[in-house]
Symmetry: D2
Subunit: 169 residues, 4 copies
């Protein structure tokens, strides 16, 4: 088993810079999380961007898609900011023969209390168990791409009740 | 989605009792882990035993099997000590129409550094993604029952290279 | 033994608000830290302000000074942002008969890796051991007020080598 | 400022060995705690024993005393199991001109929830603030040697109400 991890920034990667009293996207904590999970499979981590997901552009998404299409790996876990995770997932929809799971966290991985470790574990459990396709793993659930939205008021991901726009596409 | 969690003890549940300078099986940390993972699915936690897995008897395993067979739930995450996890998985093999994922941890969940949170996340990602059957989720991998052993010297789970005894059964 | 804790904000109190992808001053973590330290002395926590220390005004400092002067307590631990901690300490200099220790942290208390717990412990150890006066406890050291500055480039507190401005006052 | 840290084992140092499902004294976590506290003073850590404090012998205590007497350092933080911490403190009583603070923890330092970081911070705050002598820093309080006992039922350190045996010595 081989998993390619692609990091793009988002809350999961945020660190605190005292000098500016600000919270910015920093190094991905994913290697530490994999060490803590004592994983024994082969993997590689690629840092694609370090951005708040609201700053990820259409060009960025196409670059991500191109990278995955041209990569020999079959299983991908992509860490991503939560605000536009569903949008990026939609762009990856047309990729065939690969299983891609997007995840992230609502609290930074560097916090004492964070959903980051749980979510990375969940994404890894899902990516090796699912058929090819694009999925979002958040809030304990693995959603198929297109059937999930972020409820910003409640700060959680939810299943879309009806999705007529997709049926018409 | 509904997941039934069944706890049976093992390292994942261990606490430290200073009075005896000993480490014993205590309350399951699973509810805290699910809260940290901000899960939004329905679930219930059943504490079946609180035992080191070396102390789990054949009767215990039959009781666990009976409980699952008679339960209306379809998805189960079972936390278990690592030493006999594979043995318990084998007993559950004959159950039909349910997805059962066993997991645990090599370091207690109450430790700063533990694989417990990661493993529970992985088991949850797997249980909702897999076909019915019995699986073991440890060391970042989801193994089908019968194809995995604990390498005690290395303190990790590994795929069985060949398994002739099983073919003959 | 009775200790009055006064919180004023600063990095130690910072929380992360995903909605704004920002890091703001939140509830003080001091009660959690005292519980973790299993303290058995009597204490009380007063939240005076919730500010970045660069936003603390001269009026705020006078209000803090007035509060301490009129308080029956003799031992104070004051949590404070690091940037103007020394300035606030200087304002408290003229208070007689009370031991006041200012501390804070360079990383938020809610981080996995933080100096907050250590620093609160250090301040508590110092406040009950020292003669009346104003002190700053940071980076493992208890400095007398007036003999310490924050080296912003290195992000740590250091002893002032010479302090002629003070001798002239 | 220079502080000599001497580790002797006890709960603070305990690690978990899955192979035996046991909890044993391991490497001292003190260097990690000092890094987390971002200390900037000079220090050195000496591992004297790795024992449950009930196993520390009179010879061990004399060896510890001899080490401190012959050491050029003036400030010592000694980590120690809690059960016989007061007994060891009594043996060190006759050392002159040095400040010695004993501390430890009621939960192992490797636990998510532990008093170890707080206690090490407290001991460091105390050792640089106190007159020469022997002290015990536990449960948020710095006790002079001879005026403190461990209340085993409550699992905490308390001030001795009266101590006639000491007055007669």
């Amino acid at each position: 088993m081989f998993i390619r991890f692609i990091t793009t920034g988002g809350t999961i990667d945020k660190v605190y810079f005292d000098a500016m009293s600000q919270f910015e996207v920093g190094e991905s904590p994913i290697s530490n999380i994999l060490a803590e999970g004592r994983v024994s499979f082969d993997y590689n981590v690629v840092s694609m961007f370090q951005k708040d997901s609201l700053e990820i552009t259409d060009e960025d998404r196409e670059a991500l898609k191109g990278f995955i299409e041209n990569d020999e790996a079959k299983a991908f876990v992509i860490t991503h900011g939560t605000d536009t995770m569903a949008k990026t997932a939609a762009v990856l929809r047309s990729i065939r023969g690969k299983t891609m799971v997007l995840t992230g966290s609502l609290n930074p991985a560097r916090f004492k209390t964070t959903d980051a470790v749980f979510n990375i574990g969940m994404a890894i459990g899902a990516v090796q168990s699912l058929q090819p396709g694009v999925y979002i793993a958040m809030n304990g659930q693995v959603f198929a791409e297109g059937e999930v939205v972020k409820n910003r008021a409640e700060n959680r991901f939810e299943k879309v009740i009806s999705n007529p726009s997709r049926h018409s596409s």
